[in-house]
């Protein structure tokens, strides 16, 4: 725990500027959505409290909205015009939907809890309906309304972490990044500040509630508080809009390699084309990134041809790089998306052995490995009966995993392969617990642990060439950006990608720094 704490502090120290941005994004998301929800929920509550016949359908509707799982709600909103798309606006809509119910309910409860005799007296004393509301009902309902706001804010701080999945930023960026990297430090870097934010906001509103309970000047205090909150939101928003409208928006999915590639796209456009680029990294998956591209929420992101083929266009996987590229290019063209040239690496499965074994036994390809176990063996391991394979569960089970592989190469091991956690296979191989495995071709651990990739010489594995996809209209509008992206054609090798992944995952370097160093190293960039 102590070391986790130290790592966390080190991470926070090295990401101070980014952290401040994420925190302010988070605060703005929650404050703005709660303010909008209050602007909707409180008047609705006043109306519903006046007309009990309306209150049931209104509360029922708000209840229903509350039951939609947040990720699903974001999913529904993305394709909608005006309120949809990706980014802050959609996140605000979703967060507002969640915040309305507690505020609405507490307003109704608060107003209905005002003693009828007190209201009757106010009316009989000659207060106008408006004065009755302002001077009597509102102050008496206020403690209840404040408690509703507290609930809304605490829910909002939690739900806003999910907004990261649709590119709205916030502390959720760290949570999703940490989940993708299986790095508890990064998860904590998002979760801990979020929890503290929730506690702090709740305490602040509780204090406001106390003031409200101190009766007379309560209303004034709350008004002041609301103004301060509104001001904070306004400053936050103006700070963002002061940054100006970007020419292009670059997206990425939410794992390390994608974040690095998104940063690569962004930097190469900034450096080569001199355009203003906004980053919407860490989008929550292929479907969201693709939808965002179609709806114009983002203009460019890096996809893998095999993923486009199977996950987006629902075709069976294929292993021919050129054929897959052309098929995917035509399908994209039909929806107004331009497939740019391939970057130069294929992020598919990689059959891995220890480097010293490969050298000693002269293995370069998967065919070499298979030959070593056929009889009569041309080359033999010292004790082939003890040779152990270990694979992730999914690779073992999928028909296009181990079964297909052993059929394609006639690969037979003396022992049945072991099932292992995907995150452990690299270190297990390096430590000699297993002797062969199937990993990720661009894993940063391959070089670091001295592992060797055996070439898939029979082209068994489907191809997953990394390739930038861009909105065709935007590429026409900014030819310089298109040229900048094209200049990366074939320039990122699998080894380059592995190094950059390791720099971020293993060495905890900032992706922006890693990409800058890479561009400087390969040269030809300003």
């Amino acid at each position: 725990m102590g070391s986790t704490m130290n790592e966390l502090l080190a991470f926070i120290a090295s990401h101070r500027a980014e952290m401040a941005t994420r925190l302010s994004e988070h605060v703005v998301l929650v404050a703005a959505s709660t303010a909008i929800a209050a602007a909707i929920g409180i008047p609705m509550g006043v109306v519903a409290a006046r007309r009990p016949s309306w209150s049931r359908p209104i509360v029922g509707f708000a209840n229903l909205a509350q039951t939609i799982p947040s990720l699903a709600l974001f999913g529904f909103l993305i394709p909608l015009p005006l309120i949809g798309g990706i980014g802050t606006r959609t996140a605000l809509v979703a967060l507002t939907v969640y915040a309305v119910l507690p505020i609405l309910r507490s307003t109704i409860t608060g107003l209905q809890g005002v003693p009828p005799a007190v209201v009757e007296c106010a009316v009989a004393m000659g207060l106008t309906p408006r004065q009755v509301l302002q001077q009597v009902e509102w102050p008496l309902a206020l403690p209840s309304i404040v408690s509703g706001l507290r609930v809304a804010v605490v829910i909002g701080v939690g739900t806003a972490t999910i907004a990261s999945a649709i590119g709205a930023g916030g502390l959720g960026d760290y949570i999703f990044r940490g989940l993708a990297m299986v790095d508890p430090t990064v998860i904590l870097a998002g979760a801990l500040p979020a929890a503290m934010l929730a506690l702090a906001a709740d305490a602040a509103l509780a204090a406001a509630g106390q003031l409200a309970d101190r009766r007379r000047r309560a209303t004034r205090h709350v008004v002041v508080l609301a103004l301060v909150a509104a001001l904070a939101v306004a400053i936050g928003l103006s700070g963002r809009s002061a940054a100006g409208r970007a020419d292009l928006v670059i997206g990425s999915k939410n794992f390390t390699e994608q974040v690095v590639l998104g940063e690569l796209m962004a930097q190469v456009i900034e450096r080569q084309a001199g355009l203003k680029v906004e980053r919407r990294l860490n989008l929550g998956g292929t479907a969201i990134a693709h939808e965002a591209l179609l709806s114009g929420g983002i203009d460019v992101y890096v996809e893998y041809t095999g993923t486009s083929l199977t996950a987006i266009f629902n075709e069976p996987p294929a292993a021919d790089s050129e054929a897959v590229f052309q098929m995917v290019r035509d399908r994209y063209a039909a929806v107004g998306v331009t497939l740019m040239p391939r970057l130069g690496f294929n992020n598919t499965f990689a059959i891995l052995v220890r480097g010293e074994d490969a050298k000693r036994l002269g293995w370069k390809t998967v065919s070499d490995l298979a030959a070593a176990f056929r009889s009569p063996p041309t080359v033999r391991l010292k004790a082939d009966a003890t040779f152990k394979a270990g694979f992730g569960y999914e690779f073992l089970e999928r028909p296009d995993g181990f079964k297909g592989l052993s059929a394609a190469y006639g690969l037979q091991f003396a022992q049945a392969p072991r099932v292992m956690d995907l995150n452990l296979i690299y270190r297990a191989l390096a430590a000699g617990e297993i002797d062969v495995t199937a990993g990720d071709a661009t894993s940063g651990l391959i070089e670091t642990l001295g592992l060797t990739v055996l070439d898939d010489d029979r082209r068994y594995f489907p191809v997953y060439d990394a390739v930038p996809v861009a909105r065709a209209s935007v590429m026409r509008q900014y030819p310089a950006a298109a040229a900048a992206i094209r200049s990366l054609a074939g320039r990122v090798s699998a080894a380059d990608m592995r190094r950059m992944n390791f720099a971020v995952d293993g060495e905890k370097q900032d992706p922006a720094v890693v990409v800058r160093a890479f561009l400087d190293r390969i040269g030809g960039f300003k």
Binding site: A117, V118, M125, G126, L127, Q135, V136
Partner: protein
């Protein structure tokens, strides 16, 4: 001899589709206290609420200062009509002083005038201003709340006062003290008062006239002495229910410290 403050002219009213008042005619002279008595559901509260337009009659007219309530602006009418209910109905979120100041402030009085008026009224109803103006309603006893409620109703010096069971929730000794207080205030101010009560003894003690309601109809309206002497069986039933307590309470008013036994 005197002018009429409130006149009910052949008034019928209903609530929730049920007729609760049938053709009631009654007039309240300026400066007089009229008690509306009757059993629960006899329509006395409804009759009271017609005066400040919390309700409108189905038929007939209620005249305040000779003008039909229908032609009064309800806000204006209410601001010149004091209103006191059981448990006082004080605003729990503001101090006693602010409660009393409500209507004067609505009328746009200056802060100094409001402050002076608040202290004057607190003294009038027997609450030491220094001690009570800054108190919250929940820091007062039942009797003190009722005094503050009366002060609030009198704040803008309304010519007419409506009181709906104002002393109903008080213990007998406190009730007796407040009766005495009310009589004292009334001797100085001479307001026109309509007092709803189900307590015949209270009506006899405080009112110049007693109007007896029975199932929405006015069955008697006379001085306390004549009502006591009424031959109407329904009036006699009401009287019988309270006769025993009357003398005890009258003495309690004079000697609040006297220990007395519940009959």
């Amino acid at each position: 001899m005197t002018e009429t403050a409130v006149q009910f002219a052949d008034v019928s009213a209903s609530r929730g589709g049920r007729v609760v008042l049938r053709r009631v005619s009654l007039s309240v002279s300026a400066g007089q206290t009229v008690a509306l008595v009757g059993r629960s559901g006899s329509g006395k509260t409804t009759l009271l609420r017609l005066v400040n337009r919390l309700l409108d009659p189905d038929r007939g007219d209620v005249l305040v200062d000779g003008r039909s309530t229908r032609s009064w602006d309800p806000i204006e009418l209410r601001r010149r009509t004091g209103y006191v209910i059981q448990e006082a109905g004080l605003f729990p979120h503001v101090t006693v002083a602010d409660n009393i100041a409500t209507v004067p402030r609505l009328l746009g009085w200056s802060a100094e005038r409001v402050a002076a008026r608040v202290d004057e009224l607190l003294s009038l109803v027997g609450l030491e201003p220094e001690l009570y103006r800054g108190r919250w309603p929940d820091e007062l006893s039942g009797g003190q709340r009722q005094r503050a409620g009366l002060a609030r109703a009198l704040a803008a010096d309304p010519p007419l006062l409506l009181m709906d069971e104002p002393f109903g929730a008080l213990d007998p000794i406190t009730k007796g003290e407040l009766h005495a207080e009310f009589q004292r205030v009334q001797q100085t101010l001479h307001r026109s008062v309509i007092l709803v009560t189900h307590d015949m003894a209270e009506a006899c003690a405080l009112a110049d006239q007693i109007a007896v309601l029975h199932e929405g109809e006015l069955i008697a309206c006379d001085t306390p002495g004549n009502v006591r002497a009424s031959n109407d069986a329904r009036v006699r039933t009401l009287m019988a229910a309270v006769r025993l307590t009357t003398s005890a309470k009258a003495s309690a008013v004079k000697k609040p410290d006297t220990t007395w036994v519940q009959p």
